[in-house]
């Protein structure tokens, strides 16, 4: 038992205590459990939604990306579109959800299009996208804890212990547990990352500018976008695509629904960018590692931050870094667990058994948490390559849900339920095909200018999706009464499918 391990265990215990404490004085109805009774004010919402920017990515991906490929992945961490979209999109979503008692992302589609079958489709797409995301967070957790405990804890051991901890408090407190633990997690990450991001460049290079100058001399072209591949046009299209997909994730919308008013969401959109700036310190850590620990190959590049930390600090402080890293993995995972349990119970179980009351549904959701945790653990240890492929597709999958949601917020929704179905299914199929076969715009049309060849595939698929959605909608649009009938038929179909 070393100092680092003690510190990590202490913070894990603290998280569990806080998570369980959060349910005090709350009657855990479905609405309370799933979306915190729609009662979170500005500060809690901030930690819940903005905190989603601080995941294992902050510790592994951001610094690792800067270490591996320099500026392109570094700049990709900053996305101004997130906030502008949040400002305009989230308040109307919240208002509709409040008025119609929507508690999950797939519920929103179900109610907007009056089609439980569409709810089922969205739920299935979301679960397929989100479980790999969960698995990647857990794998990150394993790496972080085994690194910072100096190998005394194996990655698998860390993952199992972590999952048990969050399963207990999520089952007990749901969204309340997530929100309270999110606060301590963010404070820890903030302190640790900002400190290291300032300390390493100063200590090893004598400042930021000397560090970047040294890198620029050692590695030509590392600090600008290249002409092709990860070029500026890749950056722009990937930025827009990610921003559109970001809020489609079920756990993000669950966070949105738990807000007390649309006002707090708008304020939040204005404050969040300041939070994103903090990722720059994580990038500084990655850049500082380039010349200090130069030989990290392949996936080991993601360890840049921890190699630097172990080289520079005492074990107890490495433990503090490990604890913040572990929370960066576990708290977002607990939010994902809550949201996944909600969509499975509300939009699949309830469609299958329509007579379930809300109280029963609350119980089903909570019972699903350990089940989802077990399934996730199974795939974490046995998933292999296919999980990683699914993870790569997750953002592109979620982006396919955007058109149907976006058009449904218009005063007169131009999209019919058939159009929504067709757009999503076509979009998903193309994403699967292009990812598994390695098809990009460049391989399809090698003669096009480089600017177009480097465009993100997800964005191109999204355009096809919108065209199909609107095309099928125009073809299936009928007078209002017929639409009702049509919807009933689709509902029946949904039951058959299930």
């Amino acid at each position: 038992m070393n100092a680092a391990l003690l510190v990590i265990l202490f913070f894990l215990g603290l998280c569990m205590w806080l998570g369980l404490q959060a349910r005090k004085g709350k009657n855990m109805s479905l609405e309370q459990w799933a979306v915190g009774g729609r009662g979170f004010g500005g500060v809690l919402i901030f930690f819940l939604i903005a905190g989603e920017m601080f995941t294992t990515y902050t510790f592994l991906g951001a610094s690792g990306g800067a270490y591996r490929s320099g500026i392109p992945p570094a700049l990709y961490a900053f996305n101004c579109f997130y906030f502008v979209i949040a400002y305009w999109l989230l308040p109307p979503i919240w208002k509709y959800a409040k008025k119609n008692n929507v508690i999950s992302q797939s519920d929103f589609y179900d109610k907007k299009y009056n089609s439980p079958a569409l709810g089922v489709l969205v739920a299935v797409i979301s679960v397929i996208s989100i479980i790999p995301y969960l698995i990647m967070q857990l794998k990150g957790l394993g790496i972080i804890v085994s690194e910072t405990s100096y190998g005394t804890i194996s990655p698998n051991m860390a993952i199992v212990v972590g999952v048990i901890a969050i399963t207990i408090y999520v089952t007990a407190s749901g969204m309340h547990g997530v929100a309270w633990t999110a606060i301590i997690k963010d404070i820890m990450i903030l302190a640790v990352v900002v400190f290291m991001g300032i300390y390493f460049p100063l200590h090893y290079y004598g400042g930021l500018q000397p560090m970047f100058e040294a890198i620029d001399t050692a590695k030509q072209g590392f600090l600008i976008f290249p002409e092709q591949g990860l070029s500026i046009s890749w950056f722009i299209s990937a930025t827009v695509m990610t921003a559109l997909a970001f809020y489609m994730f079920p756990h993000m919308l669950a966070g949105v629904f738990s807000a007390k008013s649309p006002k707090s969401l708008r304020w939040n959109a204005g404050i969040m960018p300041i939070y994103q700036v903090i990722i720059i310190f994580s990038l500084f850590i990655g850049f500082s590692a380039i010349l200090q620990v130069p030989n990290l190959q392949g996936p080991d590049a993601d360890l840049a931050l921890f190699k630097m930390a172990k080289m520079s600090f005492d074990p107890w402080f490495v433990g503090v870094i490990g604890a913040s890293g572990a929370m960066a993995a576990l708290i977002p995972s607990s939010l994902v667990l809550t949201a996944t349990a909600t969509i499975l119970s509300k939009n699949i179980y309830k469609v299958w058994k329509p007579n379930t009351t809300d109280d029963q549904l609350a119980r089903v959701s909570r019972m699903l948490v350990p089940v989802i945790a077990l399934v996730t653990l199974y795939f974490t240890f046995n998933g292999g390559e296919s999980i990683f492929t699914l993870y790569l597709m997750a953002y592109s999958f979620m982006a396919q849900l955007f058109p149907a949601l976006f058009f449904s917020l218009w005063k007169k929704n131009p999209v019919t339920v058939q159009g929504a179905f067709a757009g999503m299914i076509v979009g998903i199929l193309i994403v699967i095909y292009s990812t598994t076969s390695g098809t990009t715009i460049a391989t399809l049309f090698p003669s096009l200018p480089q600017v177009i060849k480097d465009l993100d595939v997800g964005l191109a698929v999204l355009l096809i999706n919108i065209a199909v959605t609107l095309g099928v909608s125009a073809a299936t649009r009928k007078p209002a009464i017929k639409v009702e009938e049509e919807n009933r038929e689709v509902t029946e179909l949904g039951k058959l499918v299930k």
């Binding site: 930021l208 500018q209 600090l223 008013s261 708008r266 959109a269 300041i274």
Partner: protein, 62 residues
């Protein structure tokens, strides 16, 4: 008012897409391309807080 806040909220999103792809001059110790990105994130915050201040929707919901 509605028109003004559309403009104030869209400026930062569009501005951030004009990447200035160069290392020099260094600003605040950062390569220019990195500083430029960070500057736009900060401006996004500023512009959205202004938008929020001007947005009539916040008053209607009281």
């Amino acid at each position: 008012m509605k028109k003004i806040i559309y403009v104030t909220s869209v400026i930062p999103a569009l501005g951030s897409l004009f990447v200035i792809n160069r290392v020099e001059p260094y600003v605040l110790g950062m390569p220019f391309v990195l500083f430029w990105a960070i500057m736009w994130v900060c401006l996004t915050s500023m512009f959205l807080l202004i938008t929020n201040k001007l947005d009539p929707a916040n008053k209607e919901e009281e």
